[in-house]
Symmetry: C2
Subunit: 279 residues, 2 copies
């Protein structure tokens, strides 16, 4: 990630909790429609990006697209794009390209977007509000169906149309509303406890904004978005660039003013870094 990734993550990227799946041991399964496992994690992340690019094209009534065009729109190179698409099947036409609508359908199928995934957001602070009001969630496929906080003043208050429940009711409410994805937007302290309750409530996928490493059973998928980490990665790149610039001016001319780019005043030094606050 870079991109990470910031992912985020993780990406590097972002996805740290790399749940290595056991199974596969005995029966060597009939492999009926068993291609899902074959898709590399990194490719899955990009499929989502391609999907967005394709939706944009569909909106402009583009019906056909080549790997070069789509790759440009998604910000990757075309070989990678073609390989990624090859993991989900062969839906292109040689000499022509891909039909936009077909590709959209196939990626949606692969990503499991042909069913709804109820989302619960825990921690209705600044970020929780932002998430609860996020138009992109419910617009297609990810209806926010529960909100939780521990503040009694918040409980019962509707945010983005959904009344906030108390975190003591996580298990019950999540089971009830068949929540599959939990979003943790609490401060660090509460996060593990919240996570445990979500899992107890049947949630198998968690998006974690809290700056903690969550402990979960191996059948639960966690993705982490960590602002502090993202900022620090960027900081590293600033520092690297400065070193480069310095090294470079060492090499050529040692004394002459530096040419245009890269100038940066050092600024005062300060130690210790703890970005463990709440969002």
């Amino acid at each position: 990630m870079t991109a990470h990734g910031a992912d985020v993550q993780d990406g590097d990227g972002q996805a740290e909790a790399d749940s290595r799946i056991e199974s596969k041991q005995s029966v060597e399964v009939p492999a009926a429609r068993e291609r899902a496992r074959a898709i590399p994690e990194a490719a899955v992340a990009r499929l989502a990006v391609y999907l967005r690019a394709l939706s944009g094209l569909a909106d402009q009534d583009v019906t056909t697209v080549s790997s070069d065009e789509l790759a440009a729109a998604a910000g990757v190179n075309s070989a990678k794009l073609r390989k990624d698409l090859s993991y989900i099947g062969s839906y292109g036409t040689r000499g022509v390209g891909y039909e936009v609508s077909v590709l959209i359908g196939q990626i949606e199928r692969t990503l499991g977007l042909t069913r709804k995934h109820s989302v619960a957001v825990v921690g209705i602070g600044n970020l929780g509000h932002a998430l609860a009001n996020y138009g992109g969630f419910p617009s297609r496929g990810f209806p926010v169906s529960a909100l939780f906080d521990l503040d009694p003043d918040l409980v019962g208050v509707p945010v983005g149309g959904i009344p906030v429940s108390h975190i003591d009711d996580i298990v019950e409410v999540c089971t009830d509303r068949e929540v599959t994805i939990g979003v943790i937007a609490t401060p660090a302290q509460g996060a593990q406890e919240v996570c445990d309750r979500l899992v107890a409530g049947g949630v198998t996928c968690i998006l974690n904004f809290a700056p903690v490493v969550l402990q979960v059973p191996e059948d639960v998928e966690v993705r982490k978005v960590d602002l502090a980490v993202e900022m620090q990665i960027l900081s590293f790149h600033v520092a690297r660039r400065q070193q480069e610039a310095a090294a470079q001016s060492d090499v050529d001319g040692a004394d002459l003013g530096p040419p245009g780019t890269g100038e940066q005043v050092p600024g005062e030094v300060e130690s210790a870094n703890r970005m463990v606050e709440r969002l």
Copy 2:
């Protein structure tokens, strides 16, 4: 990715915009203190995670830690941790472990956290508010020194102590306040324009929450955090798990009720997915 990346970005992860750095061509540089380049992107992301774990230990007045302990706290295995740390130097003591304060100092140095990085947030919607109020930013090293929006009703209003400026003034204000990191929290449409202005204002690192692939000069580092992508990756894992469960129950007994875990009501199908709204 988680990270992530990534991944983050990519993230995995998060880190998509993987700017491959040229240079290295001619002089075979004296390599004075040129170890910065050697650190793999994935390791950089984890250093930030170790740093947080170490800060936690320091708060508990732990002075020494072994790779096993620190690895557990950071959620990675100890071999990986040791290799990551080896990229920044040898600061451990065989038979003993690492001194917490030394490691914190060295990681901070490596990540460039010994100087301040002024941050500008563009787009003061729900997310922008959350970011502007984020205690973790200014607490150490990342002072938010500028906010921007295009809404005239917002301009001049202080958010988290900083008055909002108009996006027309990005170049001027960023140059003036020596902003090094720009955070884009605008809707998709405005993002590229905003990005261009940030770059013109001397910003070399960008954290992008808008669902677009930004075009930037190669000396600008972009990390992307994409909610929609994260959700869709989780959706993929839900789908995969279901397939697994289905395949598994095919294998053993075909007709018997499934054992405890993994039950999930299919829910109705719906097509098309476009999560391009604003946060």
